[in-house]
Symmetry: C2
Amino acid sequence: MAEYINRLWRLAARPVGNFKDTDFTWHEEPVPALTAGQVLVRNIYLSLDPTNRIWAAQDSYLPAVRLGDVMRGVAIGVVEASHNEAFPVGTFVQGLLGWQLYHVGDGQGLTPIQTIPGQPLLLYHGVLGAIGLTAYFGLLDVGRPKAGETLVVSAAAGAVGSLVGQIGKIQGCRVVGIAGGPEKCRWIVDALGFDAAIDYKHEDVGLALARHCPTGIDVYFDNVGGAILDAALARMNNFGRVVACGAISQYTAERPPTGPANFLLVVSKRLRIEGFIVLDYLPRAQEALPQLLRWVTEGRLKYRLDVIEGLEHAPQAVRKLFDGSNLGKLVVKVSEEP
Amino acid sequence: MAEYINRLWRLAARPVGNFKDTDFTWHEEPVPALTAGQVLVRNIYLSLDPTNRIWAAQDSYLPAVRLGDVMRGVAIGVVEASHNEAFPVGTFVQGLLGWQLYHVGDGQGLTPIQTIPGQPLLLYHGVLGAIGLTAYFGLLDVGRPKAGETLVVSAAAGAVGSLVGQIGKIQGCRVVGIAGGPEKCRWIVDALGFDAAIDYKHEDVGLALARHCPTGIDVYFDNVGGAILDAALARMNNFGRVVACGAISQYTAERPPTGPANFLLVVSKRLRIEGFIVLDYLPRAQEALPQLLRWVTEGRLKYRLDVIEGLEHAPQAVRKLFDGSNLGKLVVKVSEEP
């Protein structure tokens, strides 16, 4: 086979605060020849997600990326060479392909994907990817909203939050989103159909929740943790549910978190706070994907993409997740679609 | 009817820290004549419970006791005079009868109880009362332990915790109790059959949990909140459940609580933290009571009583719940059984 030159980012340091350029090192190196059963994937789109910060920092639901290893990341790619009948050349695949141009492996952990007429390949990083499954199962399976209930979602203009709010509307909820800045707030109300938006950078979230949730909060979908979680806890109704999806406000904190001061309300309000990880729901993906695709084609589930050109910009791009500057699903375009 | 002279404690101040004598005022006053439909109950046993501190301090799952009102409390009494056919003279009743000798009301909220041959009337303040229902539904309905799992319970020598641990043993769990001082720790292991006890006053709870829960914690029944909750969170297994029953370490805190610092683990470990209030389970009491009584008569569910003689000592007695000095179900004997 032709010689392939890989381009890749290795994790060089455990991040402190937001990612820095020096947390990664850039390498260009030849790809070793494939052995029996192996497959070579050319990455096309690399997904950047808040959980990348967890993977780089410490063991959690997955072991931490080892220093010196290729940075872990979900990507969509195409099979360019194959000694594995399950993955013929030309197959699109998705998996933990890493922050690199070429992935070589035995096919374990790769999921073949099929292009959908009229839909971009990138749908698999959004509504039909981890983002969509996170929103679907997190809201419906963990949060269990009922029509007429009030749903509040934080990081509401983010990749997950924007889908959660729209699925909440489809379920008949009153939906209030919390986002940073007027542009994001306008987008979730005007384009996505949220009932109200709270700009946490310019409003007192507690007062705004009281105003926009006159009958209290039944389901709070938490992507941020910290002070906003506390403000939501204070407004929860009895038997309310907190879907603990993430805590982005805490991932880059340099001081240990203090935990929600309003935690005592869990008893008196009989709250259920439940964490989940989308990986646990992958075996049930087929419950969600046809429905999610239907909502997209019907125009009931809208999304935005924030596509950064060039793998070399991944370290700068990933920082946008933590400084609030990205809008929509953040993706790095690593190479051209075939 | 004869003139009855009531003796009662009114709430005089919102408590700060533990209760003080000056938070209550003592009154002796004639009971007004009964009107149509009314019933007069002579209180026999007044239950003192950690939640009394919540009732005195602020609105929560029940409105706060108003300053100047008779202090709220669950009691067992006997009907001494009645203009209500549902409650003939001589009926034993239980309900929110208050910190007083005589309760007058229309019967709303009173539950008739029947003496059980061979069992003391006080069983209705323990295994067959709110305590027993709290342990039963909190552990089985909220915590859902499976045989072979590890259950940890705090305030394990307390009225609720001691029953929780024993029910956990009946379910086939490994049970580790956390209590204050060697006497309580000995009691839960030697008399109640817990697998291990941790003396939080003399041991590092985190290290002791690691030692006594070698396969991690599956269910943590939390009666105390605070630092012990944090230590338990750190040792929870994936998909672990925290039964949020109470947070006695926080009730008398004079500084605002900071919340569990290990809260971030809720997501990565997919924890479920769920609060509950036994009042919500009263309609289902008949699911639990026959089983609880059977376990008592079989000797599988043991309990201790801490009976203080005389209503006049209620303010001193209730403090024992918060300074760790009581062992077993705390009760004030208000008057003699008939």
